[in-house]
Each structure stands twice: as structure tokens, then as C-alpha cells.
């Protein structure tokens, strides 16, 4: 019995399904932001379909539009928040709990300080 046997059956409709999920979820998130807010005139936007298609294809094919998706300040804040989360995990006290036994019988240890980390974040604000 090898350590890592080959996967025989696909879940999530296989590679096509996972590809679909990987592409669709960000697309829907962006779509909701652009098409479903006070700036777009309601949800869904009150535009005739040809106009909507024209706007969408125009945006998707323009490099400058893709550049507007990036925000340096927001990304830095995001990384800072992630760093805070890592630090909170390291610093805050929490029990080391053994997880369920893996295939090899080994048990991984998990530090459980989610509650402390979760409460320390609003108190920072």
C-alpha cells in the first residue's frame, strides 16, 4: 500500500468542475460589486442587455480596466491584517490539541486560540 494512492474518483465534477468554481466565484464577486450597487443603478442594473454586453466586453478587453482592480493601499492593509493574524496565533495563549489520526496513524497538533485572536482584533480597533 503506497503512502499516497492515486485518486480514482472525482468529486466536484472533476477538473472541469473545479476550474468552473475557480473562475466563477471571483467573477461573481466582481460582478456583484460592479453590477449590484448604488453606483450601477440597482440590482440588476437597469440597462438593456445589448448595452450591458457592450459595457462588459469593453471592460474585459481593456487593460486599463484590469489595472483598476488593483489597489496598493488595500493590498498592504490586507497583508498587514494577515500578519496580525499570524502574530496573534504565535503570541496569544492557546491549548495545543491533537487532531484526528491521519492515514499513517500520526496526529498533528493544532493550536486553538481562535477565540482569543478573534476578540483581540476588535479591541485593537
Amino acid at each position: 500500500m503506497t503512502l499516497n494512492p492515486r485518486t480514482k474518483s472525482y468529486e466536484f465534477l472533476g477538473p472541469l468542475g473545479t476550474l468552473f468554481i475557480t473562475i466563477t466565484v471571483p467573477a461573481v464577486t466582481y460582478g456583484l460589486y460592479f453590477a449590484c450597487s448604488e453606483h450601477s443603478g440597482g440590482c440588476p442594473p437597469r440597462l438593456p442587455l445589448p448595452v450591458l454586453t457592450y459595457v462588459v466586453t469593453g471592460a474585459l478587453t481593456s487593460k486599463s480596466w484590469w489595472a483598476t482592480l488593483w489597489d496598493t493601499q488595500a493590498s498592504l492593509v490586507y497583508l498587514a491584517w494577515f500578519a496580525f493574524c499570524v502574530l496573534a496565533w504565535i503570541v496569544l495563549p492557546g491549548d495545543w490539541v491533537e487532531g484526528a489520526p491521519l492515514r499513517t496513524g500520526e496526529k498533528k497538533k493544532y493550536k486553538i486560540n481562535g477565540k482569543a485572536a478573534g476578540f483581540s482584533f476588535p479591541s485593537l480597533a
Binding site: L3, Y10, Y30, A88, W89, E106
Partner: protein, 123 residues
């Protein structure tokens, strides 16, 4: 297993008192800040939403790629559902094995923010 709280030495009311005073303190600080400099400081997420979404997608993708790549190191225990040989399919569960004792994979203890499926967003 995680130890159950000892209700006799820490009755609910005591814990509520501590939590309530923390809550009052936080609300006091927040109200003070808003009264002094307006609510602008607390609207960052709403105003920079699109940038945060992009950052979270890129970061989640980076994490997923890193975990997928690290799963190729010899001797690694891989998820049963993620060893089909097709990279698009295997990126998904291979990421769950980014070890729990590694601080960069602390999703095992706290937030959903670090879900490793690259398409699951950190909203």
C-alpha cells in the same frame, strides 16, 4: 480533547462581566475616535472593497500554489481526494495539508479568511 470550562470556578456571570467591560471599553474608544475624526477611519473596507477582493484572490492563489508545490516534496502525506495527477483538480485538497503547526497555515484555529481553495474568497 480541549478541556471543558470549569463552571464552578468561572461562573457565566463572571465571564459576562469581563466581556461586558471589554465591550464598553471598545465602544468607548470607537465612539471617541468617531466623534473626534469622523467615521472615515471605519469605512475603509467598504470604500476599498475592490482592492481588498483582488488582494484576497491573489493571496489565496499564492497560498494554494505554494501548498500544491510543497506537496510534491517526498514523504509528504497527501489528501486521498487530491492525487489524480490533474493539477487543476489537485490544487484543491493538497492545500489542506499545509501543516497546522506552521503559523502561516493558522486557518486551522481561527478564521475562515484563510480558506485554501483559491476560489473561496476572504470576504
Amino acid at each position: 480533547m480541549v478541556k471543558q470550562p470549569d463552571f464552578r470556578s468561572h461562573p457565566w456571570l463572571d465571564r459576562f462581566r469581563v466581556a461586558f467591560s471589554t465591550f464598553l471599553l471598545t465602544m468607548g474608544i470607537v465612539s471617541g475616535l468617531i466623534l473626534r475624526s469622523g467615521p472615515k477611519a471605519f469605512t475603509f473596507i467598504y470604500e476599498n472593497w475592490i482592492g481588498l477582493v483582488t488582494a484576497s484572490i491573489l493571496f489565496a492563489t499564492l497560498q494554494a500554489v505554494y501548498c500544491y508545490a510543497s506537496s510534491f516534496r517526498s514523504g509528504k502525506l497527501l489528501a486521498l481526494g487530491g492525487n489524480s495527477g490533474n493539477p487543476i483538480y489537485d490544487v484543491r485538497p493538497s492545500t489542506t495539508f499545509c501543516s497546522a503547526s506552521n503559523p502561516f497555515a493558522f486557518h486551522s484555529s481561527s478564521s475562515d479568511e484563510n480558506s485554501t481553495l483559491p476560489s473561496v474568497l476572504l470576504t
